[in-house]
Structures are given as structure tokens and as C-alpha cells.
């Protein structure tokens, strides 16, 4: 049985490589596949529109009149039928762990697809926003027949996403270039890490996704100390801190060292970062700590009553100081 992530990577790479070698998704290659899919749905072949980028695809869809009904649900019904049949065969004869993994993938993907398709695209790195996950599952479960095969073959021509409508199929080609760092994480400080020719794309720094505006400010060091410390997402905050420099940040906000523990945690007090409602400076406490596995440096505020660095770490995980002292397994 294949592992999910490796399959995902494999299909993304196939799509990207096709694009790099000029095997772009041209109309004449796509049409025969689309004809078969639409025939299965008892429909005539659609007009094909190939967009420049994912954003462009969305704009064209909105602007196109007379596109007919969105066929996503019909296609999903075919996919679900295939899965249902296969799952019923698997139950009872398959290891519990594999069924659990399968269901977990279904749950996470459904949650992302239904609640936040944009987030789905960003976190999964693309490849068929509405379809990438089932391609992986269908392969894992050897579902290589019917609609599954037709759709998979279509995507593997080198397509990033397709929006199926009664009269039109709106196609988004794969992004190019895809930029990664030495650890194979999506990464670029001067353009979208996953980008299209029209300049749009998805922005990553060392594998961490950023909205475009924030990415610009972080990568060009335009974030103020206060803005950096206010970043809600701790991974985005770590990246910004790493680019800015932890020591530089502490020096710029005149952080006073209060305590440093043997475990490498450091507690600081900052006096001039915040003002209260009367305009008076309010002292705040900032904890600097490392990830034991990656050695990344993080900063996090702790409540005023915290007196020592380890007390601050204990508070962060709802432990007493005694419990934290006993915590030996950290990764």
C-alpha cells in the first residue's frame, strides 16, 4: 500500500515536470479525455478555456456567461460510488490501521475542501483543488477504473485544476517555477514559491505559507518589531524572527534579561513596547525558547506574574513548575 504523502508528491511532480518539458495542457490533448468524462455524465463535450493561473481561472469562471451548471457534485458522486464500493470490500478484510488512515484523510480533506478551498490549495500545494486528494486515495486503493481512471489520466496530462461546467471546462495549468530551499520546502524571498507566468501564486518562506502582503513585508524586512511580535501564527512569527534576527529584535525593543534557565529558556521584560489606555508604558514579559528537535528559536509573551523562564514554559503547557522539572521527553 502506498503512503499518502509520497503519492501526493509523485502526482504533483508529474504535473510540474510535464509543464517544464513543454508538455503543457493543450486543447487537443485534453479534448479526448474530456469527451469521455462528459459522455459518462450524458453531456456533450464542453468548450475548453485554459487560464494563465489559478487566480485567472477564477476570474474567467466568474466572467463567463452561459457556462451552465457546475458539475462538481455529479463528478463527486461518481467518485464517491467508487470509494463506497471499494471501502465495503475492504472492511472486515483490511488492517484496522489502514482503514483508520483512509478515514482520517477523508475527514481532513473534506473539512478543508468544504470550509476553505483556498486554504486547501495553499496547504496541499495544489494539484487539482477539488480532486488531488481522491487521486491519491484511488491509487492507494487500486481504484483504477471508471471515472477514477478518466479523471486521473486527465490530470496527469499536466493540469493543476479543472472547473467542470455543463458548457465549459476551465483549466488551470501547473505553476512554473516551483521554488524550494535546500530542504525541499516551498521557499522564495523574491517571488511566489509556486508561481504562474502572470505573477500570481502562492507565497512560502521555508515551507511556511504567507498571504502575499505579509510575505512582502517579512521577506523585505519591513515588519516593525511590534508587528512581528503580534503575528498570530507562531510559525510565521518564527520565520519573521529568523529573518529579522532574535538578538536584533530584543536589542531594538530594549528587552531586559530577567532569567535564563539551564534548559535554554530565557525570560525578558520589555518596557516600551506597549502603552496602556492612559498612554503610560506597560511592561510585558517575553519568553525565548527553542524547539528541541529543530533548534528553532521562538518567542512568546507570558503573563506579568511569571518570574522565571522555566515557570513561563510550565505555564505555556499548563504544568506546575514541579511537573515541568520532571518533563524530560521533549522533541
Amino acid at each position: 500500500m502506498h503512503r499518502k504523502m509520497s503519492n501526493e508528491a509523485k502526482y504533483i511532480e508529474v504535473a510540474f515536470n510535464n509543464h517544464k518539458t513543454s508538455k503543457t495542457c493543450t486543447e487537443d490533448k485534453i479534448l479526448p479525455h474530456l469527451k469521455k468524462i462528459y459522455k459518462k455524465l450524458s453531456l456533450r463535450e464542453p468548450k475548453i478555456v485554459i487560464a494563465n493561473s489559478f487566480e485567472h481561472q477564477e476570474k474567467i469562471i466568474k466572467a463567463t456567461a452561459n457556462k451552465g451548471k457546475n458539475l462538481t457534485e455529479e463528478i463527486r458522486d461518481h467518485i464517491r460510488d467508487g470509494f463506497r464500493e471499494r471501502k465495503e470490500k475492504l472492511e472486515g478484510s483490511y488492517p484496522f490501521e489502514e482503514i483508520t488512515k483512509f478515514m482520517e484523510n477523508v475527514k481532513i480533506t473534506r473539512m478543508l475542501m468544504n470550509n476553505n478551498p483556498e486554504e486547501f490549495l495553499r496547504t496541499r500545494g495544489g494539484f487539482g483543488v477539488s480532486s488531488e486528494s481522491w487521486i491519491v486515495w484511488s491509487d492507494s486503493l487500486n481504484l483504477n477504473t471508471g471515472m477514477h481512471k478518466l479523471l486521473k489520466d486527465l490530470y496527469l496530462l499536466g493540469i493543476f485544476d479543472i472547473a467542470f461546467y455543463e458548457n465549459y471546462a476551465f483549466i488551470c495549468p501547473p505553476p512554473n517555477p516551483i521554488l524550494k530551499d535546500e530542504q525541499d520546502r516551498y521557499h522564495s524571498l523574491d517571488k511566489p514559491a509556486i508561481g504562474w507566468n502572470d505573477g500570481t501564486g502562492l507565497f512560502y518562506i521555508r515551507g511556511v505559507n504567507f498571504p502575499r502582503e505579509l510575505w512582502e513585508r517579512v521577506s523585505h524586512r519591513k515588519l516593525s518589531v511590534k508587528e512581528l511580535l503580534k503575528l498570530e501564527n507562531i510559525e510565521q512569527r518564527f520565520i519573521a524572527l529568523d529573518i529579522y534576527g532574535a538578538e536584533k529584535l530584543l536589542s531594538e525593543c530594549k528587552a531586559q534579561l530577567i532569567d535564563k534557565s539551564e534548559r535554554g529558556n530565557t525570560l525578558y521584560e520589555i518596557c516600551e513596547l506597549l502603552k496602556d489606555r492612559f498612554g503610560t508604558s506597560r511592561n510585558v514579559k517575553l519568553l525565548k525558547y527553542n524547539c528541541p528537535s529543530t533548534a528553532r528559536v521562538y518567542v512568546s509573551f507570558v503573563p506579568d506574574e511569571i518570574q522565571t523562564a522555566d515557570e513561563g514554559m510550565a505555564w505555556k503547557f499548563r504544568l506546575s513548575k514541579t511537573e515541568y522539572d520532571k518533563l524530560k521527553t521533549e522533541a
Partner: protein, 113 residues
């Protein structure tokens, strides 16, 4: 309590990135519902997962999606794309998420990664 040192029972506590795993004597009878799967948490910006490898039953507090407890039905391993794996002995556990203070909002918040 899952570890024994010289006959004395010792609580299992382990930190895995922004999660803390703490052994408990039992899963609460009320206020939790069972959850299918083996993933304790997924990073929003990285899609990295804290996942258990082994036979587990997970639980979430009623009305919430986040896993708050789990039962390891056998010795299992907690994995992640970046954090080193941690061996979790058979037993029942509470999952605690890292928190931080926001002086800007004067509020305690769960860390978002």
C-alpha cells in the same frame, strides 16, 4: 500512570512541539466524544501533522474538533514531519496545546502554528 520506577508509578509527560502529552488515569466519561483517526493536530501553514502510529482511539471535548484525549491500545509512536518521534506506552492520555499571552489583547490564546 504508565511508567514504573522501582515499583513507584510515575506520570508520563512528553512535549512534542506545541503539544504536551500527559498520562491520565482514565478518559473522562462525560463531556467527550470519540473521534475517528490518528492525527492529533495539523499545522495551518505547513500542513505538518502530529500523528500516532498504532492502535489508538481519540476523543474530543463535546462541541470541539480538537483532540483532547486518546487511548493508546498498544505501545505507539507519535510522529511529525519535523519533530523527532516519541514512543508512547499503552495507556490513556490528555493532549494539552501550547498557549501564550497576548498583551495586545490582554488575553490568553492557544498557539496557532
Amino acid at each position: 500512570m504508565t511508567e514504573t520506577k522501582g515499583g513507584e508509578k510515575v506520570q508520563f509527560i512528553a512535549r512534542h512541539g506545541d503539544l504536551l502529552i500527559k498520562s491520565v488515569s482514565a478518559i473522562p466519561v462525560k463531556g467527550v466524544v470519540s473521534v475517528v483517526g490518528n492525527v492529533l493536530a495539523v499545522g495551518e501553514t505547513t500542513n505538518h501533522k502530529h500523528a500516532l502510529r498504532g492502535m489508538v482511539q481519540m476523543y474530543a471535548n463535546v462541541g470541539q474538533q480538537e483532540v483532547s484525549y486518546f487511548e493508546a491500545k498498544e505501545d505507539t509512536v507519535l510522529t511529525h514531519e519535523e519533530h523527532k518521534p516519541i514512543e508512547i506506552p499503552l495507556g490513556t492520555y490528555q493532549v494539552i496545546r501550547e498557549r501564550e499571552f497576548s498583551p495586545f489583547e490582554e488575553a490568553i490564546k492557544q498557539v496557532v502554528d
